[in-house]
Symmetry: C2
Subunit: 284 residues, 2 copies
């Protein structure tokens, strides 16, 4: 597979090299945040929103935001030959004393990796099947709402999902509400309108999720953030998941139950088309 | 401060160097486990138990256990000039494709760091004060019971605790039971016996915790694993926390409420003394 472009603290490095200290708090403590962004033809879709979210998160956990992240991300994308790219921007709290206590001052470590992904104008993923994870998302965690490096649970849920023949895992929160999948926000179509779990159910405030809010408003589709359980999802006429690298993708089934017709429904198709057009317009 | 000894995949490296890829799943996804062990005079206290716990955890999450971890840990300790040492052993899932899906085969990354700590025969920490974390520990997480790299919540809880003038943060689980602190298991003395949260309250199966079970049995002190709430802790005649680098340490207060006399109680002192003697006997 094509090698990713790697940038460390703003400098391009060989992808197969050693880049960070084994004592970095990103490695030892998952002490940091990240963004996954869609790049195309040298532009990053909604980069300002990614930077705003990251700045808010870093401020909340006490890591100073390097003012150069936008430029570094675009420079790494520019160094990649890929037309469509996944741009992963990781900011850790850097080195510190042994234990959990943060260093003062903080000198963050910034890792940017750029991989090729499929053409946004291409056919894309038709649908994903979901397995309901056996473990719960903690909507009352210290880091709820933050896109932290603590992804062990996501990895374990995905491994479990694949064992069950599904493409991704859906997390319920500790109160039995649908939250999100390991890598995507969730939407369901109920009574002709969209519903999506609010932050209080442990859902991250996804950038693509917010773009769907925009698109739905423009298309005259009602969209509510509200808590709902698995029965509501199973009874939905359509469901889809969203993230920055794929846009809206239909959910074909949850466990052994088909959602709607088991293929992409009408609202999902309209939103996916509108999303694709928007990306092509903003990143021509 | 003294530089740590750093070993990467069994080879000693300069502590201030670059050791791992910025694409390692330990950095990007907290995809790995760790042990923190006490070294003294070239020996690691209860190393077999640490290796057994780590092997069980790695097996559970699908990372092959390098057969050399025991030797590598002892070699790193041997390379350090410290009489008493904190030995941190980290195993990640290594490199993989972009996204959450694990690579196959897995080539783990092993990071061992050895820092000096206080002499076990010295006075040690008199007591710690605890702040009750605003966020909850998730006892129903995919990774519950595993010592994963996902420590963001611990870091954030400790920062919050320090803002409240406390030494450490106590997590409650999502059902309002006491769980553990950011770095230690919790014990309370109620009706003359010990109680400690069970795994079902999100408590990790600490090695020092299990040593306290042994010592309590030898000293004729009753010890029960059972769920209890914050009111039980506040009403306890003594409380203490345990981890591998410090052994049992008294809890002086929780929030603004003193526990017992606010200093180390009799059972805590007896157990801390017995622990110290045991370490000195096994690691002379």
């Amino acid at each position: 597979m094509t090698s990713p472009v790697v940038s460390i603290n703003g400098e391009l490095r060989a992808a197969d090299g050693l880049h960070v200290s084994g004592l970095d708090r990103g490695v030892l403590l998952a002490d940091g945040l990240f963004e996954t962004m869609r790049g195309r033809n040298g532009r990053i879709f909604r980069i300002d929103r990614h930077m705003t979210r990251l700045a808010a998160g870093l401020s909340a956990i006490g890591i100073p935001m390097p003012g150069t992240l936008r430029d570094w991300s675009l420079a790494a994308l520019g160094a990649a030959a890929h037309q469509d790219a996944r741009v992963r921007l990781t900011v850790t709290r850097g080195l510190g004393p042994p234990g959990l206590l943060p260093p003062n001052p903080v000198r963050p470590t910034v890792i940017i990796a750029v991989w090729p992904i499929g053409d946004i104008a291409g056919p894309g993923l038709a649908a994903v099947s979901l397995h309901v994870a056996s473990g719960r998302r903690n909507e009352r965690a210290m880091s709820a709402g933050l896109k932290t490096l603590s992804y062990t649970d996501g990895v374990l849920a995905l491994i479990e999902a694949q064992r069950h023949g599904a493409d991704d895992a859906l997390f319920l929160d500790t109160d039995d509400h649908c939250s999100e999948t390991t890598v995507a926000n969730l939407f369901a179509v109920v009574d002709g309108g969209l519903i999506t779990p609010p932050a209080s159910c442990g859902a991250l405030p996804g950038i693509t999720r917010s773009v769907v809010f925009e698109l739905a408003a423009a298309l005259g589709i009602r969209c509510d953030e509200r808590a709902f359980g698995i029965e509501d999802l199973l009874g939905a006429s359509e469901a889809f998941v969203t993230n920055s690298t794929r846009g809206p993708v239909a959910v074909s089934r949850v466990g052994d139950r088909a959602i709607g017709t088991g293929t992409s429904g009408e609202l999902t198709r309209r939103l996916a088309d509108a999303y694709r057009s928007l990306v092509l317009r903003e990143c021509p």
